[in-house]
Symmetry: C2
Subunit: 222 residues, 2 copies
């Protein structure tokens, strides 16, 4: 296993190679030193970097919205995706039994190793360096996607607002669907208190509903 | 209200005064801008600074222990204590009704304002500056106390372990007590499954029990 390849994918070279090895070592190896402490540190580093990113990107979002967006970015599934982008599974040190148990494909193991790698870079090079690297990774894993639409659940937000304000949940209605199976289009409307607040198109019902919810939210908050 | 006094207690001067005002503004003022967004940021900053502090101070502690220690330092009650040390209550902007409701003494309001101030300093001056300040505050609020004994509850940890492993709770026995009232010394032993696992001296029963629990934990985990 040549960790130089991993460093190349990562875009970062470790001065202290034992830190990198520690970050990639799963506790199943029973070697004493494993990556849980670095994961503890990396988790806090990612919380801050992603929190600050959202704070600056959404200057008008309230604390509750920022927390929700962060929760959707800072979790095992999201980090496992970044870890797979980095091929971390090929480079981690795990026990034979964990190996046979498909450990290299497990979200939890991949996500923890990614957090530990971030913790190790932070220890070695500080916040500025690791922040640049994390921003780069987020862009690479989610290219050309507005984080707003990717990470924020407008349907849930709308439901919370309408329940607080009108004690009712929004109703989504399929107004039209067209196109062949592989290229469907849905037109969906959202009703609150019997009144249509918005309508939107989407390639799936879920997508169209999210867009409806987003528009309705803007109307209701205006 | 002269915020210069507050800056003096804090030991930090804000280049952008509106950031400081925002950090000290409770949402009850209904002025639009309040401190919840800065609190969101400051919370993550404190999580990282205190996490890193513990990571470095306790190189042999496992992730679970670090998390527990951090949880006992990063919470409303602990932050309200720091906020009181800074007299934040005298400088926050709150509504009249919150004022009459003893808002200036509420743990939640004080803790949130402290987190927001930390978030504001981080935004303006970066991690290095705010880290130094937070370390200074922790030392000021808890002088001459080993964080190990302050923040980690060995008795609880031992009880959790013995209940999981032996389905019983440890028994603490006073073996000896001596000295005058103002300078007592207690010798306490801890029994698990009828066997004495450790004995330790302390200036109070609680202190001796904690030391017993610490030794017993080390023995049981070995």
């Amino acid at each position: 296993m040549d960790l130089k390849h991993f460093e190349k994918i990562l875009g970062y070279h470790f001065q202290t190679q034992h830190l990198l090895k520690e970050a990639l070592t799963h506790k199943s190896t029973k070697k004493g030193v494993h990556n849980e402490r670095l994961e503890f540190l990396g988790d806090a580093v990612l919380d801050l970097i992603i929190g600050e990113f959202l704070y600056k990107k959404f200057p008008n979002s309230k604390e509750g919205e920022l927390s929700k967006m962060r929760a959707s970015m800072v979790n095992e599934k999201a980090f496992a995706k970044v870890a797979r982008h980095l091929n971390i599974g090929d480079y981690i040190f795990i026990s034979n039994s964990e190996e046979q148990n498909n450990g290299r494909q497990k979200d939890s193991i991949l996500s923890n190793a990614f957090e530990a790698v971030i913790g190790a870079i932070y220890l070695e090079s500080g916040l500025e360096v690791v922040r640049t690297l994390v921003h780069h990774l987020l862009n690479a894993v989610h290219p050309n996607i507005d984080l707003n639409s990717l990470f924020y659940d407008y349907k849930t937000a709308l439901q919370e607002l309408t329940q607080a304000r009108f004690s009712e949940t929004p109703e989504y209605i399929v107004l039209d669907s067209s196109g062949p199976d592989h290229n469907k289009n849905f037109l969906i409307g959202v009703k609150i208190q019997g009144r249509e607040f918005a309508r939107a198109n989407g390639k799936s019902k879920k997508e169209a509903q999210q867009t409806c919810a987003k528009i309705a939210l803007e109307t209701l908050k205006a």
